[in-house]
Symmetry: C2
Subunit: 381 residues, 2 copies
């Protein structure tokens, strides 16, 4: 029996490239999202002794139940609208759900995804609206002496018109890369949908790789298929910020932008929030809109009790002498960077620098960053 199953599986597996002859074992869709946030998972695994589902919907793995026919089942109830990620643990091995071909990579981990519709989650899905273009473009950075890859969103209609557009620079966190916002962040879908509803202005969105020593996302460099990690991609502090205007120059000379402060925004999450914080203060006439999402606003090594270095205080004063139209700070109550952000907003308060503050539930998660993007985009330009 075991041999027969393996042989069947092998036949299926080895014929995947034979597109004309393939007889895919009819996959029953799993997970199935039902009414009222119920989600059922189903895996056929007669030989397995234990299967768990571990995901962003529950603090600990959910045990699946085995039926006599070899099918394992788990049903969750009352999930709130969101994009969820999960993995399955088969006899102790954490891997992907064989029934679900939709995956997203975060650092070195591939996880399956599903969406419980409603609320902001509706912005995460493709709808029948005009669609922008997502491009993977290489630019030359004179400061870094290398060609580097970025993702660029141009709004629906860009190719056909002569119109110029404002630009948002949207930065990822440590361990991320130029694919992070378009994949994990659902930025393309969010932009298409908000623009179609008239809630956000058509804009160009530039998503560069914030790890200055890297050329591109893992697998898209001459280093081949290495194991990604935050430590591996960590670059010297300031290296990305100091090279950032190379990106602005490339974008303004390559795309139909409106190249002024009123039509330029910068926002980022975590490390990218720290980048946005530094880059916007060091270029006070460049960015009219700033978004700090769960931002690593670290000074003096992130010690909130120490005074901000004088050069940063001077730079911030210069920035707020002619303040950006929007300085938006979003952070979750359970975020490990909450104290840093509190110390920073206390500093802004002490100086009377204007900002908009959004305190959300939750922590340092893509759920929050997608939410923040949905809140931030309508306030731009």
């Amino acid at each position: 029996m075991r041999l027969k199953v393996l042989s069947l599986l092998a036949t299926v597996l080895l014929s995947v490239s034979a597109q004309e002859t393939i007889n895919v074992v009819s996959s029953e869709k799993s997970p199935v999202v039902g009414e009222n946030g119920s989600v059922s998972f189903r895996i056929y695994a007669p030989q397995a002794d234990s299967i768990f589902i571990a995901g962003s919907f529950a603090p600990s793995p959910v045990k699946m139940t085995k039926a006599a026919d070899g099918n394992w089942l788990a049903v969750l109830d009352s999930l709130k609208p969101d994009l969820y990620s999960y993995r399955v643990i088969i006899d102790g091995v954490a891997t992907t759900d064989p029934s679900n071909p939709y995956l997203l990579r975060d650092i070195s981990t591939q996880s399956n995804i599903f969406v419980v519709p409603g609320g902001n989650a509706d912005y995460y899905m493709t709808k029948d609206v005009p669609h922008g273009t997502l491009s993977k473009v290489w630019y030359h950075s004179p400061s870094l002496g290398k060609d580097r890859r970025m993702s660029v969103y141009t709004p629906a209609g860009y190719e056909k018109g002569n119109k110029r557009y404002p630009v948002l620079y949207l930065l990822h966190g440590m361990g991320g890369d130029e694919n992070a916002w378009s994949e994990l962040g659902r930025a393309v879908e969010i932009l298409d949908n908000l623009i179609a509803e008239g809630k956000a202005k058509p804009m160009i969105v530039v998503m560069p790789n914030g790890n200055a020593k890297e050329y591109a996302a893992p697998g898209y460099t001459s280093e081949g298929f290495y194991i990604p990690s935050g430590n591996r991609s960590r670059s010297p502090r300031g290296m990305f910020e100091d090279s950032f205007m190379d990106i602005v120059s490339f974008v303004d000379s390559t795309y139909r932008t409106v190249p002024d402060k009123e039509n330029r925004a910068i926002a980022g999450l975590s490390m990218g929030g720290g980048h946005s914080w530094i880059i916007s203060m060091e270029n006070p006439d460049t960015f009219g809109y700033v978004g700090l999402f769960s931002a690593a606003v670290r000074w003096n090594g992130g010690d909130v009790d120490k005074e901000m270095p004088e050069n940063q205080q001077i730079a911030l004063k210069r920035q707020f002498d002619n303040p950006p139209a929007l300085y938006w700070i979003g952070i979750g109550k359970d975020d490990f960077l909450i104290d840093l952000n509190k110390a920073y907003t206390a500093y802004l308060d002490s100086k009377g620098y204007p900002y908009t503050y959004h305190l959300s539930d939750g922590g340092h998660t893509w759920k929050n960053w997608r939410d923040y993007l949905v809140l931030f985009l309508p306030r731009l330009f």
Copy 2:
């Protein structure tokens, strides 16, 4: 013990979005490609009873061996240079290798990949050469009455110059979509590398979705995350071919093309080879280069003993009255479409229509289609 392992895994899994705090369990790279085509796989799975590796490197799954410390190992020897795909079968469940974050989807199946370097496989990897841009673009098809997604490669330098380029239309097979050639086919890497070596001319490559009733690849439509299948995407015969000039019009009005026959090529694999066959004969003044890769050159339902319908014979005569500069036919000895291709080349011979024939080893596989692309591109324009 089991609970402890699960708890550890859960901690890792649930912290994947916490990019700043994450402590990824240090993954040892697997598979490891060594000298002389040796490849070793390693999976930590103390609770598992059996693990097999099933992949494009062997006709049947390879059994892994369990060590006392819970590590499973398998070593393959003397693999030829190529890009290989595989899955792991853990206690009877075929899924992905937890150590390898590099995956490609083919129809509904996600498989891990690795490359044994050398030969054509060197063209499949990113190198330190000038890189083109890959864009996901939506075009409007008046014939089909819908917006549809395509992948477009523009060569390095396109954004900065005013030069016009020739265009290759590159079509996928049944069950594929507009992502197939750029992902499974490694078209971007192949183009960047061949162009950098001076072996192929800089060109625009347009990779549309050949399933005329679909809008876009699975997951990029308002239908959400359905299970892809060849049957699901199957469209009425002729529907794509009849709407194809919408794509040419869009491309010629959107990109800096040289819009004439001498600077336009069409090629495809399997179903897309059939599309290229029909589209090029029905538009004899449009395509100066034709590539039929394992092509479904079906007439009369694919019955090789029946005569080709008169309208096709007339169309072919018109095409070969002013023949394309290249009419390239590639097929594998073990391809299930070999008889169709033999009957077709016999017909071409009987009429004295010129073509180039490449008979390879192997069957209806992405290995062959990548090889054919490497052979075909240098002969264009």
